[in-house]
């Protein structure tokens, strides 16, 4: 059993393979994407793995596989669970046959997400067990346990790592053999068809079962009670690592409860922890889940223990934890002097450096084409989730709204119902179009709402790391599939004006937008140009100093990271330029030309 240096996500994938997973589905989303990619890469040949079009679809495919007796796993980020919540809520009632683990990566911070929602809450709401690893190497072990518990209780279970588990690396002892599980096959039975009568009966069973699982969890190997004293710390997830490091650097001793299964709560173990304590500090990220459970237990059992945490204002309500912040709070809690942090002398403020569209990104050209076409007209630009959300920054300043996957197309319709005199644009990426974009287009057509749909087709799922999707023609099983043509889909739905063009041909792109606006109704422009990460760079561009009059039009209109000021001169960084040529197209003096 060699040690491999693995990212938490890779550890989860290999742990699942070792546990005999047979079907893995998911939709990309930071910080979860590498789990499914690793399963595909390290597939021993026994696993069916797919990127599904969205999380709801992924969960349903996995549920079907589990009905037939296979172990299945679904991967997504926390907001993906919102999309998959419909099948998940019902599946909790129906139950599973083969073990089924829904891996949902939470993102405290948030670092790459729309929300700081807490999947531990979701698990409680859906009445499902949830596992919460503290280290990548532990995640490898725990994912196997999750499958076992799923089968033991016939329920799907949630496995919830957070960003600092998913994207942290550690040496992991990898077992090279994979369990062989031969699925028993689907057996027809009324249990697979959800009806109100069955739901009522199953609801009762779930309520009976949850305390039993909680009791079982009180002896679960990763739920631990250590230390001694009249003061205690309760923690879980990556905060367990911060607490451990803080306590050892403070040389602090106290009783420590680590909760690896926040739902159903391991009450017996928690009561043992609370017994004889005066006060408890709860260290966790996102919502005060463990804290509320302890407050509840103290009330239920009339325990005179003070519980401190987020609810009491002792821990921050939002954002991620760190050793530094946790250490300071623990020191105050234990009445110890805080560990001194060497403060640096006042430093000059480094320039702000937010993420931006890459140099050469075709989205920059698409946004500019629409902006130029709409000069002087009243227009609203509804955006969506993907790299092109970065079009919000100035320039291009072309994303007026962003809500969730697929919402650009539909928010545009609502805006149009209130202000019909505005031209309502909806930008959507290719992968997002397939994910949840299509029903919105149908809605606009059916209800006759004028919108201009702009599909930014860069032939990949770029933001999450270039995963294939139905428009690409390849699958995660290395198969070639029929490419689903976005223009063909729109035409088939009944969109009368559909035009495809290359956004890097700026003038033509602008004219295409003008024609789409003119067409009225639901019209569409598909801007097709591959992401620079998968395209070969063209000849790069440079500035002719004699012709550049320093008007800064290129800088103001494009905000391209390759165009900078060096000693007051407009300069194109040769190492960043991809040769998209858009700067040459906007330069009013013809000072930007390709390097021959």
């Amino acid at each position: 059993m060699p040690d491999e240096f693995l990212m938490g996500n890779q550890a989860i994938a290999l742990g699942a393979i070792h546990a005999g997973v047979g079907v893995v589905t998911g939709y990309p989303g930071t910080p979860s994407s590498e789990i499914l990619e690793t399963v595909a890469k390290r597939n021993p040949g026994s696993v069916y793995v797919e990127w599904s079009v969205n999380e709801k679809v992924a969960l349903e495919v996995a549920a079907g596989a589990s009905y037939a007796g296979a172990r299945s796993m679904v991967t997504m980020k926390q907001v993906g669970l919102n999309v998959a919540s419909d099948p998940l809520m019902s599946l909790a009632y129906v139950g599973v046959k083969g073990g089924m683990v829904v891996v949902v990566a939470d993102d405290p911070g948030p670092i790459s997400s729309q929300t700081e929602q807490d999947t531990r809450h979701f698990a409680a709401y859906a009445k499902l067990p949830v596992f919460d690893p503290s280290y990548p190497e532990e995640a490898y072990e725990m994912i196997g346990d999750a499958f076992d518990y799923s089968e033991k209780y016939g329920t799907p279970v949630i496995f919830r790592p957070t960003t600092r588990i998913c994207h942290a690396y550690a040496p992991v002892r990898v077992n090279e053999t994979a369990r062989t599980i031969t699925p028993s096959g689907f057996v027809k039975d009324p249990r697979w068809v959800i009806f109100p009568r069955l739901s009522y009966e199953n609801h009762l069973k779930i309520e009976e079962r949850l305390p039993q699982i909680g009791e079982d969890f009180s002896s679960y190997r990763f739920n631990t009670l250590t230390g001694a004293g009249r003061w205690g710390i309760a923690t879980g997830g990556v905060s367990r690592a911060y607490v451990g490091e803080a306590c050892s650097s403070l040389d602090a001793t106290c009783r420590l409860l680590r909760v690896a299964t926040p739902h159903p709560f391991p009450e017996r173990l928690a009561l043992e922890f609370l017994d004889g304590l005066d006060k408890v500090l709860v260290v966790e990220e996102l919502d005060p889940v463990i804290e509320r459970e302890l407050v509840y237990l103290c009330g239920k059992h009339h325990l005179p223990v003070t519980i401190l945490g987020k609810l009491s204002g002792h821990m921050p309500r939002a954002g991620e934890n760190s050793v530094d912040a946790v250490s300071e709070t623990i020191a105050a809690f234990l009445g110890m002097p805080a560990a001194p942090v060497a403060a640096c002398a006042a430093a000059p403020e480094p320039p702000v450096r937010p993420p931006v569209l890459c140099a050469g990104c075709p989205h920059r050209a698409s946004f500019l084409a629409v902006k130029l076409a709409m000069r002087g007209r009243k227009a609203v630009f509804a955006g969506d989730i993907g790299c092109y959300t970065l079009g919000n920054a100035k320039p291009p300043d072309m994303v007026d709204t962003c809500l969730c996957m697929g919402a650009g197309i539909t928010v545009a319709q609502g805006l149009h119902r209130v202000e019909p005199d505005a031209v309502n644009f909806a930008f959507v990426g290719d992968s997002t179009f397939f994910h949840t974009g299509i029903p919105g287009v149908i809605n606009a057509l059916y209800n006759q709402t004028d919108i201009v749909l702009v599909v930014l087709d860069n032939a990949t799922t770029a933001m999450t790391g270039h995963q294939p999707h139905p428009g690409i023609g390849t699958t995660m099983m290395n198969a070639v599939s029929e490419k689903i043509d976005i223009a063909g889909v729109l035409t088939a739905l009944g969109v009368r004006h559909v035009e495809t063009c290359d956004p890097l041909q700026l003038n033509e792109a602008q004219e295409a937008v003008e024609r789409a606006v003119e067409a009225g109704g639901v019209s569409a422009v598909i801007f097709k140009s591959p992401c620079i990460a998968i395209a070969k760079p063209g000849p790069r561009y440079e500035v002719d100093r004699d012709r550049c009059n320093l008007c800064h039009t290129c800088i103001r209109q494009l905000g391209c990271p390759a165009i900078t000021l060096v000693g007051g001169e407009v300069t194109i960084d040769a190492s960043l330029c991809y040769g998209c040529s858009v700067c040459a197209a906007v330069c009013p003096t013809g000072a930007i030309r390709s390097v021959q």
């Binding site: 240096f5 690592a241 942090v341 320039p351």
Partner: protein, 193 residues
């Protein structure tokens, strides 16, 4: 004895790769390593940092403030941004060349990193400035800045890993066609220490 290292720069500069190189070298020497990376939205030309922690399996994934033995900055401003992590009197290895963010050009500010380098030189750290652009030009690839900086850090003795050990890792894990250019960059960087 823990070794804590911070690698800081701009998304796309090869920071994840270099932290992996350090980690693999430490593992080959039988040490325990944890790293934490910035992956996702911030990668798109934004500030990124990798935390590398060598020695203690009970450590958390992130380097605490004031505990990094070295900050290896791929850009002067990004090195300054990570300075709160540096232990007093620690080592800063930094690439001399500034990368102006889009916001700098838009506000017509002529950011060239010199103010950042001046500060790094006066803050009490041991500063090693590497002419990364010159090394990249010498090697003929803009992709070797990461190994050049690593060479300087290793030669300065702050990694707890020797140049030879890193060289062995490069030979062991990099695709054959990249090995020689990275070794050249590693040695060129070492000359700055």
């Amino acid at each position: 004895m823990m070794k804590n290292l911070m690698f800081a720069g701009v998304g796309g500069q090869g920071i994840v790769l270099v932290s992996k190189l350090v980690a693999q070298t430490a593992l080959r020497e039988g040490m325990f390593v944890r790293t934490a990376e910035t992956i996702g939205m911030a990668q798109r030309g934004g500030s990124v940092a990798s935390h590398v922690r060598i020695g203690d399996p009970t450590c958390s994934p992130l380097v605490p403030l004031g505990q990094a033995d070295a900050v290896i900055g791929f850009e002067p401003g990004e090195a300054v941004r990570c300075l709160p992590y540096l232990v007093p009197g620690g080592v800063v290895v930094v690439s001399q060349r500034a990368i102006p963010p889009v916001t700098a050009a838009l506000s017509r500010s002529d950011y060239d990193g010199s103010q950042m380098l001046d500060y790094l030189g006066s803050c009490g750290a041991r500063l090693i400035v590497v002419d990364g652009a010159a090394i990249c030009a010498e090697v003929g690839s803009p992709k070797v800045l990461n190994t050049a900086l690593l060479g300087a850090a290793a030669a300065a003795g702050v990694l707890g890993l020797s140049l030879d050990q890193i060289e062995q890792t490069i030979r062991a894990i990099m695709p054959e066609r990249f090995v020689s250019m990275n070794l050249t960059a590693l040695r060129a960087g070492a000359r700055y220490a």
